[in-house]
Symmetry: D2
Subunit: 435 residues, 4 copies
């Protein structure tokens, strides 16, 4: 967790106090179930809740005990017994550390996913608002960085909207993957713990019981979770890259909001750099880097080993915290993005009409010219314009092969921007529905 | 595609002939829709199908044309016009190469996914059969590679079964992600092509229209697809690692089938190595390696660039072909796995009864001993046994603190294997249902 | 190996015939050494060379034998005995398959490295030639995609030259890492083979003996090798990205050579796309993807397992073949790159003189204005120009705080391009030496 | 930086106070050089050192300024001017933030490398000591997890020693890669700063000047650095995996030191788990995960963009801190590793003599039996022993084809362990030199 890319709400999930709180809840709910089943005295369960429900766990004390026992859950249980008293001996009966640790991790990941889902909702709102605002703002579409044909800035944002809608579906899928609970005891056989305890804890923690857990909740679930975060991060990178391109000096069709007092460069006072988008590009790389170690965590030995643990101590907070920050930053960026429709129009005209080359070629074909011949005729007239020599329409109107098929008026009519935006409504309806 | 890890069925999807066949179908279905809409003559569409429906495309000829035009789709269209004749000028009207290429890629990925889904079904069958066969074959469960408590070999396989059931759900999700079609023309505005053409082609190719495609089908979809293959590959690695462990000389609880005539080592004739599982471990690494470049493919520039293309020419065939091979190999391996229940029982006894340590501790607690005290009493008696000095039950029966709580008979009764397998039914019911 | 990104010279290294040839040489040299040591008859060694020195190995036959034995080296040795006759029983005495396989792989990697080193030499030549050609071609330097201050196109290429010089040093280091030989027998103890045999084979194959090989040559060497290829691929990506930016329609300062007959787009005849650089960007991702599985190959079990093998069957040919292709393609691209100095000059003027902002600020500071104040004065005059309102010099000359320190003539003199290129010589001397 | 895997010494390198201290030194040395060149007043340089040499920078104050300026170096310079007074206006003349940031990062990476080099020295000492201690401790060598032939535990450790010697060479190479300094001003042209300033600062900070830096020090250097850390981490994983295998219940040839009071499992008091090695396996995955984002950082846009920055804020401290911790932990683990030679011997005998199969085969060949025939004869007698039926020597002595070539005495003599260890001296000499 890099402090400057950390929001308190997400960071809180990963604080020791939160973790101990969740551990306590798992143990206390398990005690309830065991009491109900007659395995431990009912008063024990009542006492556990009564004494520790509102406790603030002493993190330093737990750390101290762990230094001796070299075991974090045992350290916590020892501390818990200091709070609860003798009834604490009924806590954790027949359970293993993994029951507590793995169920807790999944609770944390679900909470993180919930924040990320809310982040996505806000980003989607911003994208929708700006897309509708610029639904008809004509701009050049570019393939390979080269002017292709006109589109609208709204369509660009609608594309991003659709992409982050998919991000939401993926995240919902990923959340479901990790929303499981295991209270199955050593090697997962329920030898010392009744499966009904697991069912009870799962219900109370809003999880479903893991069908078969061999002491650990299987790590393919987490690999899937972090892989989904990696895909979402890549979508952040795509949109950030778009903004970086649009803000280039030569393009300047849109620009990150530049606040008064902000300094773009320590050396060059004129600079206004797309630093937020560049930062998002880097954050995307960081979030993505969690995917490979998560995949490497899957192949644990036999019923379990603990190699996944150090990995998760790193990637679980880092990937969720940084993605949360990135999504919020992206939302603010889109929200305040300064758009320059006049520059868009100016750039659109830059290629001397070449962006209408396909329409001319198609018109020639429709008038009976062979496709290959039409392509050659259009390309022949396009190349001088590309080099800056002349205007495309004028050249076409002077080409006899072309005018044999299309009159100068017909040619002029092919240079109409409206032709390119006629289906924007269709696209918006597909993306945003009937609204 | 490494030949020795390639099955013809999957490889066929990625052959040039198949690709050209799919390209043709996309173009021909598009022509049908255009004819229906009155954009091109109905006879043209009929002729296209009539002339090329059964054509075998001349791959060498297409390559030759591509060497001049440096454009694969144009090379194909030129060749197609050699087959179809003058009506070929109505093909590809208002479309871009990406319409053909991206829709084709998604058709190929869906077909690949279908094969992989069938592979998973076969693997699941094998796992289910062997799991039920060994439902009650008692074996030691190991955490950290250390004997923990007993479980059954069937539970181990049930765990793998549940994991590959998740693989199936993930793959279905991934398939859905890439089952889209784009026939939207340059920069995706439908300026030169009616959206109804896309709808028709999508339907005919069993895809859904991409809501908004800016000339390309967005690559976050493919990143998700290859990430899912990576997760499945990691599950293959997990199961392969389990087999490798079981076949170790010191363990030898299960063994890959070793065929007559097979040689384990050129130098040491006695060797029987788990080479299939080791091979699967390596193949998992290979399949996984497709995930990162697929993620890096997402951030294309503006409406599209072509950087994703070379990546996909590599990873699309490689990852699907190698995963297909790996899943089939895994199925065969599980199907013919030689299991040694006697060795399992021998290993189980190796720790001198220590595997019952938890149960003894719990029994002491239930008799009123504090958890910490019970832990210490058990650990104290366990450590000599760990070092090979004595038998756990005998030592416990000689420990006064222990016998103050539990009679020697009560202690002996705690060393019962059935205690650990009593919930195997529950687990099987969860995993396989009522069967 | 994707055929279209494969050059025959590199591909030849990875063909079965080459591999069998290297295997043979290893075995025959080993036989020589054993004969010299009196372990096998001298005539045997002579016969082995005599019979097989010019043999073409029958790949299909070897494959056939392997299908039965499931062991590639045994299959080869069986085929070799068919060629050599009864003396073949003296081949491979005391050796293991790994001795042959691992030494062969390292020979192949060294040969691949030699081709890549030659590729780098050619790329460096092209970069040097073009750098010197454009040493004084003034162009705008850009940070964050925003015009910063002037530089020259030659400096841009000198930067790439220095980067690929580092690539060469890294590759030399990587080659040294894998230039080792192991003929140490089962588990590497030399129990059945004299260490002098290894020394002899190493010498003959231009390798050094692996100090301690536990049947395998340790895979950290190969992880280092593929990591270096990944870094070089990333440098290819950087230069390719530069070209893609320069060819953007709005920038068009340089352009890939566009051959007559080439088609940029099937739909838009006007297009000239930077497809080579985009392709190089994709190839870089592919080459890079070999690094992670190579790293995962390091942790083999005990003295060796075979999980690395399938990985290397993929990444060794793929990464070397694709990087070779990429470097040659990059060389051609740079060699023929079309450079537009006039466009560079036009772009340079685009920001209305803002690129001189730092110099003005420094001049103000030197005249005694506080840095913070100077920054504010310059930024205040820069912002309207950024928005397209007015010319920077004119605005500065009208700002009283500024003219209190600098006369209008002094200000005008600060707008001199030569100021920025005065150290180009220094840079060139550092990069290219005194030439 | 995960606190529990962080050592203060390495962490200190990455603290804000250290960073600001290095920034100050760079600025102050640059001021010295500028004063020497007559660019700024000599007294200014003197004052800068005098006022700030022993300053403790107010991190909170700098953060506060950054919140307004959104620029970290400007925030620092503003704070510095609060300490230094009006002479501060001579600081940073003609420099850019990157000059400070990139040079500082390289200073930090060099310091981190120095700690890691010292870590490696300590690990090497531990490995050497234990290797020599167990030079002649016979143990079984395993390929594919299967008993192969005898080796010694010392050879195993010598193998690790050689691997970490390579790690040292790689790290030295990596350190050299990043030991460069850039003080070249905006876009690296030295327009506003004399190259001699860079030379002076480089010398003072023990770096070499970057030959050509386009405002940034090129990121291929850092990609190489983190790739090397990734390779070293993989070597840590290999050795950790070896220990995990050796500690398995069925093997138990070595064991991590288990301290009094330590608890292996909260549920099973008998457990002693190889948790350190498992932890190292996970840390290796974490350290490795820095390589891909570092590679993705290489392709910055034009003269520079800032996307690398957020990545490096994460990976630079994380990868160095975690690798430092891992190497120290590994050193402690090796230092205190409990080795069980008797168990090694017991395991060695487990396969009923099969580990001598190669020697028997070779002896048969030397007596004139064809290799194929000898292989078959040995394999035929080995397979029953593999299944637990009988003893290898006895079976061989009863096989007529075998005894036709080798007498029962000759056969018995082939079962000699000393045969396998006769070259241990050679190996040790190669690895450790004459000592």
């Amino acid at each position: 967790m890099i402090p400057r890319y950390t929001r308190p709400e997400m960071a809180a999930i990963w604080e020791p106090q939160t973790r101990f709180r969740i551990w306590f809840e798992i143990e206390a709910h398990a005690a309830d179930a065991m009491a109900e089943l007659g395995i431990i005295p009912k008063e024990a369960a009542v006492t556990i809740w009564a004494k520790a429900r509102d406790a603030v766990f002493d993190v330093a004390r737990i750390d101290e005990i762990e230094r001796e026992t070299k075991h974090d859950v045992i350290a916590f249980l020892t501390h818990l017994s200091e709070i609860v008293g003798p009834e604490a001996r009924f806590v954790h009966q027949g359970m293993t550390s993994s029951d507590v640790l793995d169920t807790c991790l999944n609770v944390q990941l679900c909470r993180a996913a919930d924040i990320l889902l809310a982040d996505l909702d806000d980003l989607l709102s911003a994208l929708e608002r700006r897309a509708k605002e610029h639904k008809n703002t004509v701009t050049i579409g570019r393939s390979h960085g080269i002017h292709a044909e006109p589109t609208t800035f709204g369509v660009k944002l609608a594309f991003a909207y659709a992409e982050f809608m998919r991000a939401k579906e993926r995240l919902a899928f990923a959340r479901m993957e990790v929303a499981t609970c295991a209270i199955s005891g050593a090697v997962g056989t329920f030898a010392n713990i009744d499966p009904r305890v697991e069912e009870h804890v799962a219900k109370k923690m809003s999880l479903t019981p893991e069908p078969v857990s061999t002491q650990v909740i299987p790590r393919d679930r987490h690999a899937m979770f972090f892989s989904v975060l990696a895909v979402i991060a890549s979508s952040v990178e795509r949109l950030a890259t778009e903004v970086r391109h649009l803000q280039r000096t030569e393009v300047l069709e849109a620009e990150e909001f530049f606040s008064p007092g902000q300094k773009g460069s320590s050396a060059m006072p004129h600079k206004r750099n797309p630093v937020l988008s560049e930062n998002l590009t880097g954050l995307a790389r960081l979030v993505r880097s969690a995917a490979v170690p998560a995949l490497e965590n899957v192949a644990l030995w036999h019923e379990r080993d603990i190699s996944h643990s150090s990995v998760e101590r790193g990637i679980a907070p880092d990937a969720t915290v940084h993605l949360d920050f990135a999504l919020r930053r992206m939302t603010g960026l889109i929200d305040k993005l300064v758009v320059y429709p006049e520059n868009m129009r100016k750039n659109l005209d830059r290629l001397g009409g070449l962006i209408h080359s396909q329409r001319v070629m198609l018109a020639l074909t429709q008038k009976g010219m062979a496709r290959e011949e039409a392509y050659a005729a259009v390309q022949r007239n396009a190349m001088p314009v590309w080099r800056g020599d002349g205007d495309f329409l004028t050249l076409l109107q002077a080409d006899k092969d072309v005018t044999a098929k299309l009159s100068t008026t017909e040619l002029a009519e092919l240079f109409d921007l409206g032709y390119h935006t006629k289906h924007v409504d269709t696209i918006f309806k597909r993306v945003f529905g009937d609204a």
